[in-house]
Symmetry: none
Subunit: 539 residues, 2 copies
């Protein structure tokens, strides 16, 4: 017997409270479409009337299978629900569902709101009844419910009952400050259900202030709630909300949830999880967190030598789920802790089969070690590692040769006596018999400018003849530089992350006493790897 | 009645399995000292004999109050504990405690290890007995314990009993693959204790593959274990280990833990948490995660308007703990009240006394905020912060003016047909009425060369007239670059560490769309700070 579990996404509302996040209307539309494709049950779009973006978004909102929901707050004291202009703004968005937040903690009612406990109960009752009368599906977000319960359980419960009796479809227990721990959540939810609020009308809304947002959500489900509120990638106020990116794979793949519940997310959709997570980071121009459960680039990276060799015998030895179930991939990074078995597995993933015991394996490991002694780090630069191995195996085509390059950065006064910077890069490349000179410049006010490295990247990518099609959609997405120790001298290590139009992301490394040389080496590797990945022939 | 709870840190061992992390011996020493100051009970330093860094570190390890622990694995089949050279390598490190990992999941014993179940039990028994016989405190890491228990509880338990009977002080239940959920952990730990392994000899070791590492650790404590293994900032294999940075504040500040347990972390040490967390990120050149529980820069940021206005009435309305308890600070957009006392303390550290309420304090905070919006980060660049404050306070002399500069990096073939790089920097500075043009070049084979930034530093430091005496002993010792977000555009942040002959070390920051500009800004700050520190007069 499976039970239905509902997923309520608040990326577009609580997720917008993330420090540094500010969605545009167009971005909200893109995210709403991605959420709908994923299969969440509810999409909370924002607070119509609270700011121009949210108001505009509700006018422009896309058609969705998910129930579109507007957020607002219960009516204020001293006026009726019909005459509250803030509530009217929310209703005017015309969504099939409306979620209103209201107080349930006596301290907040008197301190933050400054009204009597009875006035607050009426506000909940009247506001929810108003939604129902207008034919909307009504949700009540019980703000600070867990703290409220601990302070005054009778009053907190009265608030829930007011919403229940007024016809709220869902009563959502919110741990607004994020301080409640999972064991407490479990016990309090049990008590609430025992007191007469049915679990199939209860939702849970958690924050990650103690690192337990996911666990608290699961504890609430264990105790009987049947709706989970969360956000993609755990965006949200302060430390964020419960991450649906983490919760959805757990609910679909792990017991007891997989057998016990059914959600609106189809099993076939689950392998889109990595792509959806990256898409959101992309929209927000955030660097994806490598260590994210399920979807992080390191989530299935096996660095320990013992783990890596066991994985080769049977992946389930060190993986709790198959990475492909969520659209992720196994990574066996190279480092001086790994051995030949890692190496063969990593090569096999790149489509290069080498027999066990092949003497070239030892040679590759030797070169890796030499290079690591020089300051290279292949652990975070798989693409460069792959090229190194290909070189040793005689599988690296010479697509082009760099004859020379020059980059100039100048800072001086312009004719208006303002200090301005200009970067200019010249790259001379030989492709087959053809010699190509490319130049690129960038200057203050050029939004795309990131200085000399970007100027070099642009000059290099300007005219690659037969390769141009393949490299046209490449872009540099991250760039890390460290002074490190190579032998006795300080040297510079540069790691560049690149991305293409298909969402592939790869990392390359360059090392030199000269920062620009190191960057250029990493750039060349990035291009070469892309040409190999695309199966491009030497032109 | 409080009970003792032990904290076991594995940042230097399991934390080293983080993709992209490679500690040097010097870094391991710094981290060990920070951990010891924090008050963890055990510091697991690595696996002596497994790689040169770990071996060297154990020889150079600092004196600590914490019990220094070497990690290794149980003896291999077919030889005695005395004759296992891998185990001997671990023992030779001479640590007071040794932690050996061994199998407890029957599938792993036969598949990954390829030995009989009985042989594995002997390996555990003999290895632990060997440690005890040599006078070491013995810890047994029960690898894959939870999966093992689910597959074959009798055998998994036999493994624990073998370690217990051989005299292991701690038997650590490891959820190696990170797939076990908190409710399962609770039930299994309860069953283990009921089966005769005392809770005060049990530890827990969790990974974050389902986002539950912290919750699983707490569930294990709830069920009776008395040792928690974790890492700073949750570093570790794949998605990371349980974060001690999160767990320690929870254990010390939140109920039921705060009243029920006592740890070796002093209450006075807790406000160091943010600093220690940042220090680790700094060593690893990682961008601190803003959303980290307790220590993240956003952990107490109140963006929602309703929250921010309630916070002003009473901070406990939207904060589960006071931010200063962990050394963090409240962030309220549009309100700089919270920052002023911090600011005065920071200025006092730099020898600048400003009276409380001085209107310039508000102005400084505003400028810091503007600058941080542009991508500056003053946390790791105290010298630049000091200069900013001095500027606003009218305490910053104008020592010199940079009129213009130019740097060229060229890579081409030399007369011997070898590829060589040359950097050339020209800097034009005005000191008083004197205009000084300086040029510096660097090329391959020049050991001191670090490319364009060093060339600029050398040109700048070549002829500073009256200031030359003060800056002659300055050198650039570290250089960190990140692409970050400033407004809507990607920009580059450079942090430069400088050192002088007296061993002073200071950090400055520069931000620009252009890497070289950003570096130059940081260089100028570095020189200016040195001139102020040396009490140099404007010449």
């Amino acid at each position: 017997m499976t039970e239905r579990l509902y997923l309520y996404d608040t990326t577009l509302r609580d997720g917008q409270q993330t420090q540094g996040v500010q969605f545009s209307v167009a971005e909200k539309i893109q995210i709403a479409q991605a959420l709908d494709a994923l299969g969440v049950d509810y999409i909370e779009g924002g607070w119509p009337g609270a700011n121009p973006t949210d108001s505009d978004f509700f006018e422009a909102r896309p058609q969705t299978r998910a129930v579109f929901t507007a957020f607002g707050m219960t009516k204020r004291a001293g006026r009726s629900a019909e005459n509250d202009d803030v509530l009217a703004g929310v209703m005017n968005a015309g969504t099939p569902a409306v979620c209103l937040v209201g107080k349930t903690h006596d301290f907040h009612v008197t301190t933050a709101l400054g009204v009597s406990l009875e006035e607050n109960l009426s506000a909940i009752r009247d506001s929810v009844a108003h939604l129902v009368a207008k034919g909307r599906e009504a949700l009540f977000d019980a703000e600070h419910f867990f703290d409220g319960w601990k302070a005054n359980p009778a009053y907190a419960l009265d608030c829930l009952k007011a919403a229940r009796d007024a016809g709220a479809r869902w009563i959502v227990l919110c741990d607004t400050n994020g301080g409640t721990l999972p064991a407490e959540v479990f016990l309090i939810v049990q008590a609430v259900i025992a007191a007469g609020i049915p679990g199939d009308r209860l939702g849970i809304h958690c924050h990650d202030d103690t690192g337990n947002a996911v666990a608290c959500s699961l504890a609430a489900v264990d105790a009987g709630v049947r709706q989970i509120q969360g956000t993609l990638n755990g965006l949200g106020e302060r430390c964020g909300n419960a991450s649906l990116t983490t919760l959805i794979p757990t609910l679909l793949l792990k017991e007891p949830y997989a057998s016990r519940f059914v959600t609106n997310v189809a099993a076939e959709t689950l392998p889109q999880m990595v792509r959806i997570s990256r898409r959101l980071d992309d929209i927000l121009n955030r660097v994806p967190l490598r260590s994210s459960p399920y979807v992080g680039a390191s989530a299935f990276a096996h660095k320990a030598g013992l783990h890596a060799s066991a994985i080769l015998k049977d992946p389930s030895t060190y993986e709790h789920i198959p990475p492909e179930a969520v659209g992720n991939a196994r990574v066996i990074p190279m480092s001086n802790q790994a051995g030949q078995s890692n190496l063969r597995a990593r090569l096999a993933e790149a489509g290069i089969e080498v027999a066990a015991g092949d003497p070239r394996l030892a040679r590759i490991l030797e070169v890796v070690k030499e290079r690591e002694d020089q300051g290279y780090a292949y652990d975070g630069a798989q693409a460069s590692f792959e090229l190194l191995a290909r070189r040793e195996l005689g599988l690296l085509p010479e697509f082009f040769e760099v004859k020379r390059y020059r980059v100039i950065v100048e800072r001086r006064r312009n004719r208006y006596d303002e200090m301005v910077s200009v970067s200019e890069a010249v790259v001379v490349v030989k492709i087959g018999d053809r010699k190509v000179l490319s130049v690129s410049e960038s200057f203050d006010g050029d939004a795309a400018d990131r200085g000399p490295v970007n100027a070099l990247a642009r000059a290099l990518g300007k005219d690659m003849g037969p390769y141009q099609v393949s490299i046209d959609d490449m872009r540099l997405v991250d760039f890390k530089v460290r002074i490190t120790q190579g032998g006795t001298d300080a040297i510079t290590r540069v790691i560049i992350d690149s991305e293409d139009g298909q969402g592939n992301r790869w990392s390359t490394v360059g090392v030199s006493a000269n920062l620009i040389d190191a960057s250029f080496t990493a750039l060349l590797d990035a291009i070469t790897w892309k040409l190999i990945r695309d199966g491009v022939r030497v032109g």
